[in-house]
């Protein structure tokens, strides 16, 4: 296999790992701050700056670079051919990296403490917006290369469906291309001209609508590559087979169709959006649940197949037969358990009327640390343990740390997420430097739980530190040997290589675009028809 594509994947992977390490350090400080520990450097300015850095580096930088790395690996290894347009792929890498550095510089200099949601009229330095836009532009070049890889392969394999791993990556790319239209419009037409002083005012509600048009499918951009790991790598590592290939394809197509026309469920509490449209987005949101229910069955059944192949015979003894000491396996299995809890919480968030109880409370940060912070991040860490030795031809170093790390993450995340769900239900807002509210009785009730949350944060930080040590140890000092091959799980029942309805990407993209138009065209059009008043910018940081 080509080491050229491996180099490309490794370059992206290292940016992801460094971003993750820096973002984890920021997180420790926030967890301790919330528990009101009197630390010498604890100030509101540092706290909100670190929340901005943590959110941006984790949600946008770590995820995007990891997914680009993984996408190149899938494109090359599942199709058995080097990725085309290598120059363009490297251009995408450098554009995204330069953009990331500009954004991070703006944040660390204290000129962009607007959090990763950057709601105007909070106004950041232009470098923050331009940098983030370049990160997206870089990812567009990556998307182009992945699509071209598929098309080149398809010409040589007429009438065949793509390997499942690539099918999942193509779904990821389609979701991403549809989603980023929203953030690109927000950046290019609203935020960048306004931050440069070319326009005087901005419509904050229009910006929020465009942000959440992007913000929800963003979570599927993170989740789908994790699902690729669950469907195509996990069963193989566990020693079994994929329970159902066609249903896995259905799941990815389901996300292509329903990821975007649902963004108003993040804006239930917003003025300026009629209730009827919020309700419409709610119904589609619940539709998405189906794909994750199917995934829960198919992946669990695949693990049962693996446990039985390893000699299990009883009703449930296939569970202890699974390779719980393998860091990829334990990472992914534990991430799925946490995602089960997070998914149920997600259904509560989406439940229209019930959302008022939890909106913008600590419940929300508890929720997304189970989803993106566990289902996605823990799966990506497990994948890195599996991938780095295979890309570098080095043995995984500090194997004991790698074995302990997923369990430590699981424990830390349970403490963190449960305590935040509870304080959220008790009305504690998210993203606050200090939770005392002048000694208010209501706020006093939160304090024991915030200590528990901080303890979870310490476990998570230690776990993240183990991960970084294993990555650095392996990348810099791992013993050289022949790299193990990258292999994908085979389906339990042999499937025909012929393309099916689920492999018709043009058709499903068209269905998705139609749904997006139904869900967004009229609300946006009627919004623009209103008498609206712009808002000047504010920099209260």
């Amino acid at each position: 296999m080509s080491t050229r594509t491996s180099r490309l994947a490794l370059a992206n992977l290292w940016v992801a790992i460094v971003a993750f390490g820096v973002a984890s350090a920021m997180a420790l400080m926030q967890a301790l701050s919330r528990a009101a520990l009197e630390l010498p450097w604890r100030t509101a300015k540092m706290y909100y700056l670190s929340v901005t850095a943590h959110g941006t580096l984790m949600a946008l930088v770590f995820t995007t670079f990891f997914i680009m790395a993984f996408g190149y690996v899938v494109a090359e290894r599942s199709l058995g051919r080097s990725v085309p347009h290598e120059g363009l792929a490297w251009t995408g890498y450098w554009v995204a990296l330069v953009g990331t550095l500009a954004t991070v510089a703006a944040i660390l200099s204290g000129k962009a403490t607007v959090l990763y949601t950057f709601y105007p009229p909070l106004k950041a330095h232009p470098a923050f917006y331009i940098g983030a836009t370049l990160l997206v532009v870089g990812s567009w070049l990556w998307s182009f290369v992945v699509i071209r890889s598929y098309l080149a392969w398809k010409r040589e394999h007429p009438g065949e469906g793509a390997p499942l791993a690539l099918h999942g990556m193509l779904a990821t790319v389609i979701v991403w291309l549809i989603a980023t239209v929203g953030v690109a419009a927000e950046m290019l037409f609203l935020l960048i001209p306004w931050s440069l002083g070319l326009t005087k005012t901005i419509d904050p509600e229009l910006a929020r609508m465009l942000f959440w048009y992007f913000g929800h499918p963003l979570v599927y951009f993170w989740l789908l590559p994790a699902y690729v790991v669950w469907y195509t790598i996990l069963p193989k590592v566990a020693g079994g087979k994929l329970f159902s290939d066609p249903l896995a394809r259905l799941v990815f197509v389901w996300f292509v169709v329903l990821s975007t026309p649902v963004g108003f469920h993040h804006q239930f509490m917003d003025p300026g959006i009629p209730a009827s449209w919020k309700l419409f987005h709610t119904v589609l949101t619940f539709g998405i649940l189906f794909a994750s229910f199917v995934t829960a069955f198919t992946v669990t059944a695949s693990l049962e197949v693996a446990g039985r192949a390893r000699g299990a015979t009883g009703l449930l003894d296939w569970l202890p037969h699974l390779p719980w000491k393998d860091p990829l396996f334990s990472s992914v299995a534990l991430s799925m358990l946490l995602f089960g809890v997070g998914g149920i919480g997600g259904a509560i968030n989406a439940a229209y009327g019930m959302n008022a109880v939890v909106h913008n409370t600590a419940w929300i940060q508890g929720h997304f640390h189970l989803t993106v912070g566990s289902a996605v991040a823990l799966t990506f860490m497990g994948t890195a343990y599996w991938l780095l030795p295979r890309l570098t031809g080095r043995e995984l170093e500090l194997g004991l740390l790698a074995r302990v790390q997923p369990y430590l993450w699981f424990l830390g995340m349970l403490l963190f997420a449960i305590s935040n769900h509870i304080t959220g239900l008790m009305g504690m807002p998210r993203r606050i430097y200090d939770a005392s509210y002048g000694g208010s009785v209501a706020a006093q009730a939160w304090s024991g739980w915030t200590d528990l949350s901080a303890l979870g944060g310490v476990f998570l930080f230690t776990s993240a530190g183990f991960f970084i040590l294993v990555m650095l140890g392996t990348g810099l000092a791992g013993k050289r040997r022949d790299a193990e091959p990258i292999e994908w799980a085979e389906p339990l029942e042999p499937t025909s290589p012929k393309a099916t309805l689920f492999d018709r990407y043009g058709l499903w993209t068209a269905v998705a675009v139609v749904l997006v138009l139904i869900a967004y065209a009229y609300p946006l059009w009627s919004h623009l028809q209103m008498q609206r008043y712009g808002s000047p910018g504010f920099t209260p940081f």
Binding site: V51, D270, P271, I273, F293, H359, P429, D434, A442, S535
Partner: protein, 162 residues
């Protein structure tokens, strides 16, 4: 497509559960009128202080219920103390004079965004008299965590005076 029997059962059950979820939400929304605050009305955010209504934040008790006119600003709510009667509908009309804020009455489901340029409005009834903490739940700058106010829900007989 060949789907195993158990997975078929699972998929039907999942589909049924989702239909039940959606029916519950629709039933509550249409049947019981349980809607999130979704008022559509705009206002010039640079003129909140001189606006005929928001320039005079107040609590008015009328025959059809109580109306609270209030706005958020960095880093306070105006008025800082809101008194309303228990057991009667209270309509909140709110906006922001600067950046986006949130308005959450801790221990209740009264929760709305205050987006500059827009008027948020919702009606609710407080059944339990007492003192409630109001917090800003959207990051609005370095003083976000001190942005709070007080809601005092008074027993009906005392709450009758405006």
């Amino acid at each position: 497509m060949n789907v195993a029997l158990y997975e078929k059962i699972w998929m039907w059950a999942a589909g049924g559960l989702i239909v039940a979820f959606v029916a519950t939400v629709l039933g509550a929304a249409v049947g019981s009128g349980l809607q999130p605050p979704s008022h559509v009305e705009t206002i010039d955010p640079t003129k909140v202080f001189t606006d005929p209504q928001f320039g005079h934040p107040s609590v008015t008790v009328g025959p059809n219920g109580t109306t609270v006119v209030s706005f958020g600003m960095m880093f306070a709510f105006n008025p800082a103390v809101i008194r309303v009667p228990a057991g009667k509908p209270v309509t909140f009309r709110m906006t922001s004079a600067d950046v986006t804020h949130g308005f959450l009455i801790v221990g209740t489901n009264a929760n709305t965004m205050l987006v500059p340029g827009y008027v948020s409005q919702f009606t609710t009834t407080f059944r339990r008299p007492g003192e409630y903490l109001i917090v800003c739940n959207e990051y609005c700058g370095l003083g976000h965590h001190v942005m709070s106010a007080k809601l005092i829900v008074e027993e009906e007989e005392k709450g009758a005076t405006p």
